[in-house]
Chain length 199, copies 2
DNA sequence: TTGCGGTTTGACCATTTGGTCAAACCAAAT
DNA sequence: ATTTGGTTTGACCAAATGGTCAAACCGCAA
């Protein structure tokens, strides 16, 4: 079996869509096989079990997400510019249902993160340490960096996750909401910056 | 059958816990019966089907949530005080898994909201209209009230929904995170207020 | 005591679903 | 043409699961 043969790619793509939209419990192996255009037996030939396949999809999603929230400031931009960069990257990642998928599955089985935490458990959160120093040197309001981290991430992630309800609450259709989101990254960054900048 | 007999209450409580933590697809009727201390047959005697029982639980959760996000400013407090009130109410509601439950199930089946939207579909979002006027009369930054609504809700809701990952990212255990959350409502409100207040 | 209406349950059923397996298939090497 | 090794699949299986039903149960009124 070739690594990432054409068939394997089709399976992974179909599985990703299914798991992301329906969740682990709502996903059917038969459906994945259908969408990949193969038999269920073939599906099991490539990935021994549902758990096995799920793990692959989940890990891939996590591997895409972790760097996004872990990386911070490997450049010499101002803190304001860094915030803008972060919101932009984050919001474009979150758009497709990947984030809700992660939250849903982590919530279903919290242990799923246990194994993967060992790696960089020691090192401090880069965002927090960065804003610790920024708060000392620059003229900004003193807010616990833990809160800043939570707030900035919330502002970036939640609009996509709660899309359906926000739409209803704001009386917008899907298209209008998407258009609103086009200008959101900039607004979110500005909002965050203004909130902690003194003057 | 008495309305809300002791048995019925036990069922609803057990079902709520199960549906909220495992989701519709992950919930087993047998488990609900076990937790309620009755047989599966009895469970079906009270609630004809899984869908029937689920609908009850979901509607109850929605009925608790909707007023929370719809009510705004039926008092003569300042806008700052209103924001503080809102964040406080919201954050205490969100704490238990109710919010993720709603998001998960709405996402699984978007039509689930369709029926319930008719009611107040016509009236404008109160938060938005309120901030429209506030922005005209008071000395605050001009930001599309739709964005303000999204941001304020995101700040309130997401920390509870994304609890597991925030914990990991900030290197906190469950207890430390909960302690951090104790001071969060105040911080969140201040943050929001500072972000739009000119001064 | 008997009869009655609501309640409870063990046994059972049909369907769904993850997973297996022997047989067939097929392209490349001998 | 035959063999070989990876690939594909229809048929099948066992367990899980939502749901049914007749029988038993139980307080209570006649």
């Amino acid at each position: 079996m070739q690594l990432s043969s054409e068939t394997e790619k089709k399976i992974l793509e179909a599985a990703r869509v299914e798991f992301e939209t329906k969740g682990y419990n709502g996903t059917r192996m038969q459906k994945i096989a259908d969408k990949a255009g193969i038999s269920k037996a073939s599906l099991h030939y490539y990935f021994r079990s549902k758990d096995n396949l799920f793990e692959k999809i989940f890990n891939d999603a996590l591997d895409e997400y972790i760097p996004l929230i872990s990386t911070w400031a490997d450049n010499d931009l101002s803190w304001e510019a860094k915030v803008e960069q972060f919101t932009k990257d984050m919001i474009s990642f979150i758009r497709h249902g990947r984030m809700l998928f992660l939250i849903r599955e982590v919530n279903r089985n919290p242990q799923i993160l246990e194994e993967r935490i060992k790696r960089k458990a020691k090192s401090q959160n880069k965002f927090v340490t960065y804003f610790d120093t920024v708060q000392k040197s620059k003229n900004i309001r003193k807010v616990d960096p833990n809160y800043l981290y939570i707030i900035l991430n919330s502002i970036c992630s939640f609009p996509a996750i709660n899309k359906e309800m926000f739409q209803r609450a704001l009386r917008l259709n899907a298209k209008q909401y998407d258009e609103l989101m086009d200008g959101y990254a900039k607004t979110a960054a500005d909002f965050f910056i203004h909130a902690i900048k003194k003057q």
